[in-house]
């Protein structure tokens, strides 16, 4: 699909130079993007002595996976010393329902707002969109009171609710912008055939949606997995998501810092989201492509 946008270079010397320049720029940016990853990975493989003594950017003397093992299954977080493993599963239990719920609601809302234009639909969309901009620090206190009143404070349901609500603004944005590009004729034809709201959604819209579902899922998964503030505020102890546990592991107020374990813990925590980006990255770009066909 990238066939035509490129311009066949004339067989000249300058074209070769352009090509080299292009690669040089790409590589410089690649180094810039990879630098922090290099520091994190390198440090996680070093011994503590080596970190105390040496440059942080130097290569590790030897590969030492002790810190990884320690962070995954042995490090103490609070009074339990089972590493990050149990918290990993907490995050999974929270992320899957929250991602599903917010994606589904976003799809339905986006569909209703674009294909069943009712009066004020744009206003509704604008109001929903503004929800993207509320800083999470602002909502902690009223949210705590609300969760307390509903009686789901300190539970995974509370977190699922919170993430679904604040993710909704984004998923609606994604789906709406995608569905705008699907020709209305498809829907109109189906209506004439007597198909209803949900039938059309199921039969026509959903089959066209996988690319944007991928986008929405990746986005939401990343946001929810990486959330610290809500996780810390609305869960405690054994129920905490991995981001909070990781933060507990690497933060010490007046204690000794084990940078190698900290970095290994950070990598373990980031592994699922990195994995998702690497595996689904191509679909991500494809999904965005499909979603942004002309205005």
């Amino acid at each position: 699909m990238s066939e035509q946008t490129t311009f066949v270079p004339a067989q000249t010397r300058s074209a070769v130079w352009m090509r080299l320049l292009l690669w040089a720029v790409l590589i410089v940016f690649a180094i810039w993007f990879l630098l922090p990853a290099y520091v994190v990975v390198g440090t996680s493989l070093k011994e503590l002595e080596e970190i105390r003594g040496g440059s942080l950017l130097s290569l590790p003397h030897e590969l030492n996976f002790w810190a990884w093992k320690h962070a995954w299954s042995e490090a103490c977080i609070g009074v339990t010393c089972n590493g990050l493993e149990p918290y990993f599963w907490n995050s999974v239990k929270m992320a899957i329902p929250a991602v599903t719920l917010s994606t589904l609601l976003g799809a339905l809302t986006g569909y209703a707002l674009t294909k069943w234009q009712f009066k004020g639909a744009n206003m509704v969309f604008a109001l929903i969109l503004f929800g993207c901009f509320v800083p999470f620090q602002v909502v902690i206190l009223p949210m705590a009171q609300t969760l307390g009143i509903i009686g789901i404070t300190n539970t995974v349901y509370g977190l699922i609710l919170v993430h679904s609500v604040y993710g909704l603004a984004f998923t609606t944005l994604f789906f709406r912008n995608y569905y705008v590009t699907i020709p209305d004729e498809l829907v109109r034809a189906a209506t004439i055939d007597g198909a209803g709201f949900f039938t059309i959604f199921r039969r026509i819209i959903l089959p066209l949606s996988p690319p944007i579902i991928v986008v929405s899922v990746i986005w939401q998964f990343t946001q929810i997995w990486n959330d610290f503030l809500f996780g810390a505020s609305f869960t405690t102890g054994g129920a905490q998501p991995i981001m909070v546990a990781m933060n507990n592991l690497v933060n010490t107020t007046t204690g000794v810092k084990q940078y190698n374990v900290d970095m290994a813990a950070a990598l373990i925590t980031a592994a699922p989201t990195i994995f998702v980006y690497i595996v689904a990255g191509r679909y991500f770009v494809r999904g965005l492509t499909a979603g942004s066909v002309k205005g």
């Binding site: 609070g78 107020t253 007046t254 204690g255």
Partner: protein, 418 residues
Amino acid sequence: MKTISLSLVSALALSATFMATPSLANPKAEVLHYWTSGGEAAAVKSLQEAFAARGGEWVDAPVAGGGGDAQAAVLRARVLAGDPPAAVQIKGPNIQEWAEAGALADLSSVASAQNWDAVLPAAIQDIVKYEGNYVAVPVNVHRVDWIWANPEVLAKVGATVPTTWDEFNATADKLLAAGIIPLAHGGQPWQDATVFETVVLGIGGVDFYRKALVDLDMDALGSDTMVKVFDQMRKMRGYVDPDFPGRDWNLATAMVMRGEAAMQIMGDWAKGEFAAAGKVPGKDYICASTPSENGYLLNSDSFAMFEVSGEDNKQGQALLAELILGTEFQETFNLLKGSIPARTDVPRGKFDDCAIKSMDDMVSAAEGGTLLGSMAHEIAQSGAVRGAFIDVATAHFNSDMSSEEAVSKLVDAIKLAQ
């Protein structure tokens, strides 16, 4: 012997309360704390083990980050949700503020059974009591006004640890001339404030510290003495290396260890860092108090007990309170943490020289009226006022603001924060 008889008494006292409220509930307590990692976590774990050994069910709620920043948010969220944890790690005037909000439980019965009044220094009692009743339990005492020095490095310029600020400046100038960083420092607001308060104590004296930082006397805050304090801070700025902003305190400690820098001004948690690297006090490093008239800046961690419902929670709270202030836990915990016990009758045998010095100095400071709460570490002031002090101290230290300007900003900021 004393320990045994004490715990016997307490056991009797507790069983008496059990009988008064017949219930089969097991003691249970949710503990919100920010000691989540490494040595600090090990210290908390020792408490949890003692609690479990007495049949208690410990619900751990660790939230780390920024010396309690994240935890402060969590605590408010929990209180507003109507579900506060049983015990929460908070300190200083915050305890008073939570008590004023009616959120804390009264620990009088445990306190009188355990005779807390007799074993706690008055300065600590002031922190953990509200309207005469105990509402929190102190865990330890950290001293803040320490200089951690590398004797070998000081010897290079023929110096020893300074005992006056003039001497400090002279030594630092010599070190600078010799190409050695005189002061290892991390430019984070709380670290700037830590240096600031030791300078206030040293240059201004004990009474000035009390007037300015504790009583917030506007005349003292705007005085020429305060100008001199900022003058000294400006000098201190010249003694740190250019890379100091944002540096963690422990990296600064490592500079002293490696001999890149001669001294660090930091609380006694720095000892843990030396110990982890296998350094011996008196030989590899020296702990000395910062120059002052026998002043002692105290920082004390404590657990406040929140009002909870349910017999199991209440029993858990009482048991926890008793254990935290028990001699056994005070010893184990503080050996792990590098601080000294809050109660004065803990055997000293296992503590190192720096800790012993801290204990002696605290006793004599308490007698001489020179025992003061740390501002930087939230004992003398809480929330807004502490924040105002820190803002000005750090803004001055990190810019070329004049001392006079800093003093006038300080007066304005403190007025605004009150």
